[in-house]
Symmetry: C2
């Protein structure tokens, strides 16, 4: 049966990077003798503009029927004044929830050729290689009530988790740690939050099934420090949704090359959702300046996790690696005065090498 890939370009540079990713996917299909059916859907601000809804029902149907979903990015100042449930971000949160992709994997790796752009001292970041597993469909993002009270004088958001929701994402993290260097860091705020105490209990329970994995618990404030001071020592970090949002962006920036970071969001069954870590970058949208490589690396993750083509994943990663090592730079990676190539150029180079 022909596998289906849903493409959700979204807003801003999301449109440009997914357009290049579609070319890459065709090249990969050709090279590996695969036939995939690609179909586009609307999401985010552009979906709102077209339909009044940042996540049209049609997009949900398209994604549910797909084997994998590639998302560009959503959001932009144009839609910032809309009410919460109409904003582009509501589309992103909605598709995560609709697909129940509860495990957001964010690999944090540095690139030898790009270390100079890291804000950290070279010896601290050289060789950094860890993965953050962020719970993606629970916690403060989705808990109810989430409302104004007392005629608007008070307001509440709710951090809600079930043990099952914690267990399933913690298992993903343990499996990953087992397949890597066998170290798991669980991040919580167990000295203050009841949900964190339950989180820690569940981690300890699951740990019993993984005798080969060493577990460390860090409080979130401490983790925010350790990510800056000893990033090389991490292997897999697992944490709840809001902490994961903050820590994964902090971790991304220490690499110095956020334009290179992919992510994969996986559920128990159903399609995985793949997206670059960077946003829609409205300031450079439409100028052909975007770096498509984080999206290309997200396509590699898709090949590995949803399409069972590890060789294709390796080939994409090697091609991206090669281009960077040859000194090719997009605008976000170029230092002051250094020459840079445009979106379509770097895309063509990678497609050539895959």
């Amino acid at each position: 049966m022909t596998k289906k890939i849903a493409i959700l370009p979204g807003d801003g540079i999301g449109r440009e990077v997914t357009a290049e990713a579609v070319k890459l996917i065709h090249v990969v299909a050709e090279a590996h003798g695969e036939r995939w059916s690609l179909e586009e859907g609307l999401i985010g601000g552009s979906a709102y503009d077209a339909t009044g809804n940042p996540l049209p029902e049609e997009t949900v149907r398209l994604c549910r029927a797909a084997d994998a979903v590639l998302l560009g990015a959503v959001g932009g100042p144009k839609w910032d004044q809309l009410p919460g449930d109409r904003r582009p971000e509501a589309g992103l949160l909605g598709i995560r929830k609709a697909l129940e992709v509860f495990a957001n994997l964010r690999p944090i790796q540095t690139w030898p050729g790009l270390l100079a752009a890291s804000p950290l001292k070279r010896e601290l970041v050289e060789g950094v290689d860890f993965i953050i597993v962020r719970e993606l469909t629970g916690g403060l993002y989705f808990g109810e009530p989430k409302a104004r009270l007392n005629g608007g004088e008070a307001v509440v958001d709710t951090l809600h988790y079930t043990r099952d929701e914690i267990r399933r994402v913690v298992r993903v993290a343990f499996d990953l740690a087992k397949s890597r260097r066998g170290r798991l860091t669980s991040v919580d705020k167990a000295n203050v939050l009841e949900s964190s105490r339950v989180w820690r209990e569940v981690v300890e329970e699951v740990a019993a099934d993984y005798p080969g994995v060493t577990v460390e618990h860090l409080l979130v404030d401490n983790a925010a420090m350790q990510i800056v001071t000893r990033p090389k020592t991490f292997d897999v970090i697992v944490t709840e949704n809001m902490f994961g949002d903050i820590l994964s962006d902090e971790a991304a920036v220490i690499t110095g090359s956020i334009g290179m970071l992919p992510s994969a969001s996986l559920g128990e069954k159903g399609p995985g959702l793949y997206e670059p870590v960077h946003g829609s970058a409205p300031d450079i949208a439409g100028q052909g300046l975007a770096n498509p490589l984080a999206t290309f690396l997200s396509v590699a993750l898709m090949m590995r996790h949803s399409l069972q083509l590890p060789h294709a994943a390796d080939a994409i990663e090697q091609a991206v690696y090669g281009v960077i090592e040859r000194g090719v730079r997009t605008r976000d990676l170029a230092r002051a005065g250094e020459a840079f190539v445009k979106t379509a150029e770097v895309s063509a180079m990678v497609c050539e090498d895959v």
Copy 2:
């Protein structure tokens, strides 16, 4: 009337650093012709050991009757298995709440002599000078319900704010910004949380009263990145309790000298609460290795904000500055192989110079 200072040593190195701070306070009183009455109270694990309660009623009474409170640090592995409301941290949260010190000020400054210890590249941190104003008595830390549900199968914490709670801390931040470089950064997650949308509205309302202050809004994940990539550009950052916990520790660590960072927690009336940013460091407790300088700088903040002695504050800060510039190092500040002095030694040097 004789002013009263309550001293809460707490646990671990909290006891050692407050003991030196008491000496410093006596020296300052002498130098400035002041008479203060100092009285000690129990808090944290040591209070639990003595009374079964991490915050005995007597301590609350002592602090309420005082003009200022100096706290060392609380916590340690010995008490980690206690139920939430008996833990040392419950004492800390309880005293913050009892005194209603809703504005936690954390100055983030680098020291020319200590820059080498920063994980960041020198050019990024040299001259960093900003203050984080963290809301301290609301949000996820205190909201109800905070409980297990469904026979323990689910769990909830509650992020609750009133507009008044937001307004009063935001005003403190605007006042500070006005007295400094006139830049305020408000951090929230307005694209996801309803409480953040209200937070942003209140900031905009209050901004109308401060035409001279430039306001910028950052999403918390973005703020976690900017603190690492452009720390010099911040002047005053204001945010809610949990975000403030995470971001202030992240900001602390980029200075490379967390052992030098003080904090002040202020309310509308009643005593201010002063504490070093570092914790109880059980690993080095009782060995005379602790760095008392963050506590000394917290005493300086006390002189400035609660005892109306700005000259005494300046004198303490100058003395600490001088000692560091002369190359004196405590163990936490010394590089591998470098000589270091003990707690009592560096304390004596500062007291000598005040």
